[in-house]
């Protein structure tokens, strides 16, 4: 199984396909918000209410096959840091430990600006750390980065914030 195929660069190369984002947050309110932000930015969204459910969706749950998972289609994972049970950091670690998932960019969001926390996440391989609540400009920026990341040959100009 080629690990680079999980980047879904193949599906993105089609150009017309919407990026698929997995958003993880224990707050229903915040899940609703991030989902709207992302769909307004032409992304397909799947939400999960905790780290374990996210792993199950990615086919990384205990004793699971990646077969029915959305793993091959996900272009970005956005996760809240503070969650009961498995924190966003712990989820990040598990994703980075997976040979199939480690190349999917993971963005950590948090309502608290704690430098040690930020460093910890970035060191573990998080693409970015963002403050909550997320705004349209944040999502626009992520969206642009996603396009560049998967389509280095597509000269797309991302204007404004």
């Amino acid at each position: 199984m080629a690990s680079s195929s999980s980047l879904s660069s193949a599906s993105m190369a089609m150009g017309d396909e919407k990026p698929h984002v997995l958003a993880v947050d224990d707050s229903l309110l915040d899940r609703k918000l991030i989902e709207k932000l992302l769909t307004n930015s032409s992304c397909k969204v799947t939400t999960a209410e905790n780290g374990q459910k996210a792993l199950d969706l990615l086919g990384l749950g205990d004793g699971q096959h990646a077969l029915n998972s959305i793993a091959s289609k996900v272009n970005l994972i956005i996760t809240d840091y503070c969650m009961p049970g498995m924190t966003g950091y712990e989820l990040l670690k598990k994703i980075k430990e997976s040979p199939t998932m480690k190349d999917i960019p993971v963005v950590i969001v948090s309502s608290e600006n704690v430098p040690t926390r930020i460093k910890k996440c970035l060191d573990e391989g998080a693409e970015e750390f963002m403050l909550k609540p997320l705004q349209k400009s944040d999502v626009n920026r992520l969206r642009c980065q996603l396009t560049k990341f998967s389509n280095p040959h597509k000269g797309m100009l991302c204007m404004g914030r």
Binding site: L28, L29, K32, K36, L37, N40, C82, K132, P133, Q135
Partner: protein, 230 residues
């Protein structure tokens, strides 16, 4: 029969006015006192103009205009006026620091595909807040207070209030967390009282705002978008 209609009209108009509105007080006076047959039913504070055989305009001293439809026996406020009121009302909430920019972000996210988005998100906030305020109250009521638990609840409430732009509630939560860190029960109880007040305040204001929006839509108008700079 005319006097009954007059009373109904006044009652409808009175209900449409915000508390403390000068006209509401004038109308209240009218409704409490019965009108003698000989007396002209309309006070000088109110002006009535016939538009056509079906409807008349009722103009109050403050400049508010209502449209009375005699046939259907309905009273409605003119749409443009309702829209202006909504904008002024929303502005006042920002000026008073009750709402912050995040609320505008929510409004901007709303579109035709999800026209009730703001109401839905705010309803989630109300649900969250009421549950969390109860949880915090119970936790502080224990013989031995578990401040880790209290702090976790406050953190959640802070998050929800921040997500909808309920600034004063959010700020109250930030202050509360300091008391949790100090394991200060008295300080926490005082803070909780404060946050409860702020919560009910913003809840009333938002419900009033949504009612104003509903009235506009019911009258066939569209809800105006707030400008980001004011």
């Amino acid at each position: 029969m005319f006097h009954q209609l007059f009373h109904d009209v006044l009652e409808t108009v009175r209900c449409s006015l915000a508390d403390g509105d000068a006209d509401a007080l004038v109308l209240k006076k009218h409704i409490q006192n019965p009108i003698p047959k000989s007396q002209k039913p309309w006070d000088s504070a109110l002006l009535i103009q016939s538009i056509n055989s079906h409807s008349s305009l009722l103009k109050l001293k403050s400049g508010l205009v209502f449209c009375l439809c005699r046939e259907e026996q309905t009273v409605s406020m003119e749409v443009g006026q309702m829209q202006r009121r909504l904008i002024e009302y929303t502005k006042s909430l920002f000026m008073e620091g009750i709402l912050d920019d995040q609320f505008l972000q929510l409004q901007q996210l709303q579109d035709e595909s999800n026209p009730d988005f703001v109401v839905e998100v705010v309803s989630l906030f109300f649900q969250d807040a009421e549950k969390l305020l109860n949880d915090i109250t119970r936790a502080l009521d224990q013989q031995s207070v578990d401040f880790t638990k209290v702090d976790a609840h406050v953190h959640q409430l802070k998050g929800s209030s921040a997500s909808v732009g309920a600034q004063r509630v959010k700020n109250g939560c930030i202050a509360f967390r300091n008391f949790c860190e100090e394991q200060n029960v008295d300080g926490s109880l005082r803070c909780l009282q404060q946050i409860k007040q702020e919560y009910y305040h913003v809840k009333n204001k938002l419900e009033a705002l949504f009612r104003l929006e509903q009235q506009i839509v019911a009258a066939g108008g569209s809800v105006p978008m707030m400008e980001l700079s004011f």
